[in-house]
């Protein structure tokens, strides 16, 4: 069994709870989608690239972003839908970069496209944004065992905050779990393992399971 190292600074589990706001903006076709995408707040881009991860867990590994879903299933632009779905969100450190990539992909498609389809009434793309409330859950961990135990109990919102929001929305460049495990516990190898899990291809419950399994393996060494 490995020797447990106590961290000087405990890991504090936060949670992020989203309220969805309707912007009143809608797009009927790709040109309107593009036009709005250039001007909407970053919280809109965040919402539509992360919402399905939370709300449609059972669909995984279906395309996790609304733009891809709308292009494929409503506009029947399957080529574009596939391109949008396969954007690797882990490549981007900020919402701004992600937005630029979405715009680039749609623009390229529009330049090639011979005609532009419109969505049927009621099936337009409705732009929404997330207002995120961040709060301490009261759960904390000072060593790897406590961390693994807490991870079993926190809500999925807490996991998605530390994995998605911390990295992309708060622009910390890494997920919070890996950063603490590396810096506070000196467990670089385990940190790298958690970092290498692509959170966008797991359901959050699946991600929780994969992380707990990696931690348990390390604890058992």
């Amino acid at each position: 069994m490995m020797e447990l190292r106590r961290a000087a600074e405990p890991f504090e589990f936060y949670s992020r709870l989203n309220l969805t706001l309707l912007t009143g903006r809608r797009a009927r076709d790709l040109a309107e989608l593009l036009e709005n995408l250039r001007s909407v707040p970053g919280s809109v881009v965040y919402h539509h690239t992360h919402r399905l991860l939370i709300q449609h867990q059972f669909l995984s590994p279906e395309p996790p972003n609304d733009f891809a879903y709308w292009a494929s299933n409503i506009l029947l632009e399957e080529h574009l839908g596939e391109e949008l779905a396969s954007i690797d969100l882990l490549r981007f450190g900020t919402i701004r970069e992600l937005r630029e990539e979405l715009i680039r992909v749609i623009q390229n498609h529009l330049e090639r496209a011979s005609d532009v389809r419109a969505a049927p009434p009621g099936m337009e793309f409705f732009f929404m944004r997330s207002v995120s409330f961040i709060l301490k859950t009261g759960l904390r961990a000072q060593d790897l065992k406590e961390f693994g135990d807490a991870l079993k109990h926190v809500s999925l919102s807490s996991i998605s905050y530390h994995v998605f929001d911390a990295r992309l929305r708060l622009e910390s460049g890494d997920n919070d779990f890996s950063r603490w495990i590396e810096n506070a516990l000196g467990e670089s190898e385990l940190a790298a393992k958690l970092r290498s899990l692509d959170p966008y291809t797991h359901t959050e419950e699946g991600l929780r399971g994969a992380m707990i399994a990696a931690i348990n393996r390390r604890l058992g060494e």
């Binding site: 309220l19 969805t20 709300q55 867990q57 995120s132 961040i134 919102s157």
Partner: protein, 408 residues
């Protein structure tokens, strides 16, 4: 029996309940009054019955008041409801007068000296005119489909709605062009209520026997108020057409809410259309018949919700929670609950509904998979705990949240 928050832990996990308590601490002692227009019948009353005690347990000083109205007022608001759903109705000065009078009368007796007034649907929307005399924040909760209102209908309520701090809709396509924040909050079902809790097979069978239903044939069910927008006659025709190929019995179970004067007429029409067919069970149930609804849904092979217009269609979530394959109209909030051919079936016509009734009765394995996927989707999105959380966030939002990221 009052249900406490801890009882939800086995269903949703302790992390979710813990978050509700943390949010509750931020809002402890806040005085919140909910106002709607009926104590019983319909989804709104049902949600408030469960929601208000939980808000109180979380430390909020939450109340629920029901506005009183005259017969003329409820005829007008039913017309308004239908018109917001797109049926042409014109409104004149007399209607505005009736509406104003009832609001004035209610303002005399309602205690609106609160931190937050949470007003449900168009009937009490006009109470907002008193906002200048109180310091409360105001939220208007719209439970109905306002995506394509008849001319004049939205204009009737818009001047009132625009005075609120936040409006809340159940589906993205209901959003209006308004100079105010609009939130998307889906309603929910309570997994511990009599309508949704687990029931044993013996209990189900004894309830069915009491209702005069034998389970010798597969059961196709629609649970809904007898309301034209729920198209009970269309369901009957679809089932009659399906039965020519696959034998089954049909249950149309519902009642009428006290704020809906049209219900009795629709019920009469359905009875006439059904004639003396012994395989059709038309059950006019009281609003308290929750166990009966639960048993009927659980005993069904296929559940239908053939709405023509729908606010959200909570009966869909109820049936999905019970792992039933659901065939439902692709309107209002129903597409949020059903992904076609994955977690249910979306239809647009009577013929389409008939086709899918036959199909699902004949392919039980496929039907079972639809039900299981639907159950998972409801688990993740449409349980009461998620709904309480969204309301708490909405309260925090109107209190002081104007940024995209709020640290509590």
């Amino acid at each position: 029996m009052a249900v406490g928050l801890n009882q939800y832990i086995p269903v949703v996990g302790d992390g979710v309940v813990n978050e509700l308590r943390l949010l509750g601490e931020r809002l402890a002692g806040k005085r919140i009054v909910n106002v709607n227009s009926t104590r019983v019948g319909g989804g709104v009353a049902e949600i408030l019955t469960r929601m208000v005690p939980l808000l109180r347990e979380l430390g909020l000083d939450a109340r629920w008041e029901v506005m009183r109205g005259t017969e003329d007022f409820f005829v007008l608001t039913k017309n308004l409801h239908n018109a917001l759903h797109g049926r042409p109705v014109s409104f004149g000065a007399r209607d505005a007068g009736t509406y104003d009078e009832v609001c004035t009368e209610n303002l005399k007796s309602l205690d609106l000296d609160v931190d937050l007034a949470f007003i449900h649907d168009p009937q009490p929307a006009g109470l907002v005119r008193s906002r200048d005399s109180h310091s409360a924040k105001w939220i208007w909760r719209c439970h109905i489909d306002v995506s394509a209102p008849a001319p004049g209908a939205w204009e009737f309520i818009a001047p009132m709605v625009e005075r609120y701090d936040l409006s809340v809709f159940s589906a993205p396509q209901f959003a209006r062009s308004l100079d105010m924040p609009q939130a998307l909050i889906s309603p929910s079902i309570d997994p511990l209520s009599d309508k949704n809790r687990e029931l044993g097979e013996t209990e189900i069978q004894s309830i069915l026997a009491r209702l005069g239903i034998h389970s010798d044939k597969p059961i196709v069910t629609q649970v809904s108020r007898f309301d034209r927008l729920k198209d009970p006659v269309g369901v009957l025709h679809a089932w009659q057409s399906a039965r020519k190929r696959v034998d089954s019995q049909l249950i149309l179970a519902g009642g009428s809410a006290s704020d809906d004067p049209e219900g009795a007429q629709v019920l009469k029409e359905v009875r006439e259309q059904a004639g003396d067919d012994r395989d059709v069970h038309i059950l006019d149930l009281p609003p308290t018949a929750n166990l009966e609804i639960n048993a009927i849904q659980r005993a069904s092979q296929v559940v239908v919700q053939k709405s023509i217009k729908e606010g959200f269609g909570l009966t869909v979530s109820e049936a999905l929670w019970k792992k039933k394959p659901v065939i439902a109209g692709a309107v209002g909030g129903i597409p949020l609950q059903i992904t076609h051919k994955y977690s249910g079936v979306l239809t647009h016509t009577i013929d389409g509904t008939a086709f899918w009734i036959k199909q699902l009765l004949s392919t039980p394995d496929f039907a079972r998979r639809l039900g299981e996927n639907g159950h998972n989707h409801v688990f993740n999105n449409f349980l009461l705990t998620r709904h309480v959380r969204d309301y708490l966030l909405a309260f925090l939002f109107v209190a002081d949240g104007k940024e995209d990221i709020v640290r509590l």
